[in-house]
């Protein structure tokens, strides 16, 4: 398919369709509305099912049903709506079902605002709901990457039988950029003999369930999940590295913020300050080793986590750096998006002018 | 002639069947204890059974099979 100019939300929806998603359950909430709207136009064209649910809670439980029946299924929402879905996501994780959940993050807490933010980092990377589980979290920094990560999210969900979160933000969802859909190479996925498609009298019933009333059984299930997470961490951890060899200041930033930091790097070059960037693409599993490796370079005098929040990923950066270098935070919150100059000045001020 | 077979170890001794038998021949056997520790229900006079299956209809644990 040729390149076309598309709004992030719509590109994400089209990417899901291209990935073979034929069931979408959603609910209106700004700034992700174009995803259900687009699905309501497109799904009938591919004899798929778009259904607007009565709430985000109902939508995620429709996803649970459809996933258990073996379908490639997606829902999307924004921060408060994603909060409502957490119990459902925990059930999907516990029942080891594949599903894709798109969060176009907005400012919080509470009703918050509708501008872009990254204040759902903890909610996304710490499971988000109750119990010992994780979700795979992919953080695109462009509309093209959002398309490719959404398509891959369906393969990852099927391969590992896990809910996968595509974590965008209001900017990625609302801006238009040229996209191409054919670039993503589909991965091998296992078939779904576990799905509840009806015994047809030929097999024992398949039971889609996350209840294990006997603690020994529940522990076994949790260990099974943990083993899957270790495998995911080993195989799927991903980060983009920019200008980080022998840099003096290492910045860790993802999504929209990482794009702004690429301009901060240029300002540094003009001022003779080498600034490097590590951009986590998988927020969970977090690229700790990569960050540790680059932070321990003798050239690095300080590490920064720059986020559209009051500091959440900074915790993981500190864990990764493990005290080897000082780790600082800079960010704006509430939907305010900082300019490169602002970030540069605050980074330099904090590190005492680097030279 | 009809016959009632009670799965005595599945019975929980709730007694519902004893209240609906038109011939009043279903009773809890106070002299016996099943593996769950309940007094199982039993037909005390099979000859009187008319095979109406009322007992089986109301049995919550579907322990009763009826033949006629």
């Amino acid at each position: 398919m040729a390149k076309q100019l598309m709004k992030g939300n719509e590109a994400i929806a089209e990417a899901a369709i291209q990935a073979g998603c034929r069931h979408f359950f959603g609910y209106p909430i700004t700034p992700q509305n174009q995803i259900p709207e687009y699905m309501s136009r497109r799904m009938p064209q591919v004899s798929g099912c778009f259904l607007q649910a009565e709430s985000e809670i109902a939508a995620i439980n429709m996803v649970y049903g459809a996933a258990g029946a073996g379908a490639r299924v997606m829902t999307s929402s924004s921060s408060p709506g994603i909060a409502l879905k957490q119990e459902g996501i925990s059930y999907i994780a516990g029942a080891r079902l594949p599903a894709v959940i798109v969060n176009i993050v907005r400012g919080g807490p509470g009703l918050g605002g509708i501008q872009p933010a990254q204040s759902d980092y903890f909610q996304s990377t710490r499971g988000g709901g109750h119990g010992d589980y994780r979700t795979l979290v992919l953080a695109p920094a462009s509309v093209q990457e959002a398309v490719e990560l959404t398509q891959e999210a369906f393969d990852l969900a099927d391969i590992y039988r896990i809910p996968v979160i595509v974590l965008g933000d209001g900017m990625i969802g609302q801006m238009m950029e040229p996209v191409e859909f054919g670039k993503y190479k589909k991965r091998e996925v296992p078939d779904k003999e576990w799905a509840s498609t009806g015994t047809e009298g030929k097999r024992k019933p398949n039971i889609i369930n996350s209840l294990f009333i006997d603690p020994d059984d529940l522990e076994k299930e949790n260990i099974k999940l943990m083993n899957t997470y270790e495998e995911i961490a080993k195989n799927e951890t991903r980060a983009e590295i920019t200008n980080a060899e022998d840099c003096e200041i290492l910045i860790v930033a993802y999504g929209t913020t990482a794009r702004i930091v690429k301009n901060v790097i240029k300002i540094g070059e003009k001022n003779g300050v080498k600034i490097g960037l590590i951009r986590p693409i998988t927020l969970w599993p977090f690229p700790s080793e990569t960050i540790a490796k680059y932070a321990s370079q003798s050239s690095v005098n300080s590490v920064f986590s720059v986020e559209l929040s009051t500091g959440q990923m900074v915790d993981d950066v500190k864990i990764a750096v493990n005290g080897v270098k000082p780790v600082y935070f800079y960010g704006r919150t509430g939907g305010v998006v900082p300019l490169p100059e602002e970030i540069y000045e605050n980074v330099i001020k904090k590190t005492g002018g680097a030279k | 002639m009809a016959r009632v077979i009670v799965d005595e170890n599945r019975c929980k001794g709730c007694g519902l069947c004893t209240t609906v038998c038109p011939k009043e021949i279903m009773q809890l056997d106070k002299t016996a204890i099943n593996i769950k520790g309940y007094h199982p229900s039993r037909c005390i006079d099979m000859d009187k059974c008319i095979g109406c299956a009322f007992c089986a209809t109301i049995c919550p644990d579907v322990c009763i099979t009826v033949e006629k």
Binding site: I57, G65 | R3, T65, V66, E67
Partner: protein
């Protein structure tokens, strides 16, 4: 001799955990027999609630989902939209359907989802130990209405069948009871019809079954049957509340 009555194979042959005399077991039989007699067990997918019937997924001999509390109608919607030719049903208690799950049941009904809902109304939360439910009767004592349900404090019980029958989308809604042989036989007709409707793609069918909870009502199983007659049926009259197929030639 011929067999007049025997256990259906659509019930898995395992003991059920329900309390002695609890009529959940009868409701399970009616559902299982209906699937068996309609010959649809092989393409059925059931959705179990959270409540005493949470383990129903071990008892029905068909594919099952265990849903989050109250969300079975949404789960069933998801399944049915993926497998339109399968027979999809939910089996829910009153805490599940009439309390936390009211939005889900109202909207599944309003959408006329082609599913079958079996709604067990025993006027109490059983699994969690006898708390007041939205269907608990006025003055009924429970562990969270120890002085008897006071309508001036927490309102009157919900009449789900009447409520849902006002939704144009719904196809068939009947309330039956499990406390006498006559009522059980009628309940069986209603349950089977509710599944027949789905087989014929007619739309949303719900059967509300008045049921007992001897343990949490603090009664013997036999007294509980009588309590349904004396207290529940007057407040929850039995009968067909919606049958869009009435005029149709069968």
């Amino acid at each position: 001799m011929a067999t007049v009555f025997k256990r259906t194979e659509m019930l898995v042959d395992v003991p059920q955990h329900y309390c002695p005399g609890c009529t959940h077991g009868i409701a399970h039989r009616l559902v299982a027999e209906s699937l068996d007699e309609l010959g649809v067990g092989g393409r059925s997918v059931g959705v179990a609630p959270v409540g005493c019937a949470v383990f129903a997924y071990n008892y029905f001999n068909c594919d099952m989902h265990e849903a989050a509390h109250g969300r079975a109608p949404a789960v069933a919607t998801g399944i049915k939209r993926v497998l339109p030719d399968n027979i999809v049903f939910t089996y829910q208690g009153d805490g599940d359907l009439a309390s936390i799950g009211t939005a889900e049941i109202v909207h599944a009904a309003a959408r006329n989802e082609n599913i079958t809902v079996i709604f067990i109304n025993n006027a109490i939360y059983g699994m969690t130990g006898g708390q007041m439910a939205p269907t608990t009767l006025p003055n009924q004592v429970t562990t969270t209405s120890p002085y008897g349900r006071d309508a001036s404090h927490c309102g009157m019980p919900l009449k789900i069948s009447e409520m849902l029958s006002t939704l144009d989308g719904t196809y068939y809604i009947e309330r039956a009871a499990l406390n006498t042989v006559k009522n059980i036989k009628n309940a069986k007709k209603a349950v089977k019809k509710a599944f027949q409707n789905q087989v014929e793609n007619k739309g949303f069918s719900l059967v509300e079954l008045l049921s007992t909870c001897p343990t949490n009502w603090g009664m013997t199983p036999i007294e509980a049957l009588k309590w349904v007659d004396d207290n529940m049926i007057p407040y929850y009259p039995l009968g067909v509340y919606k049958d869009r197929g009435e005029g149709e030639l069968k």
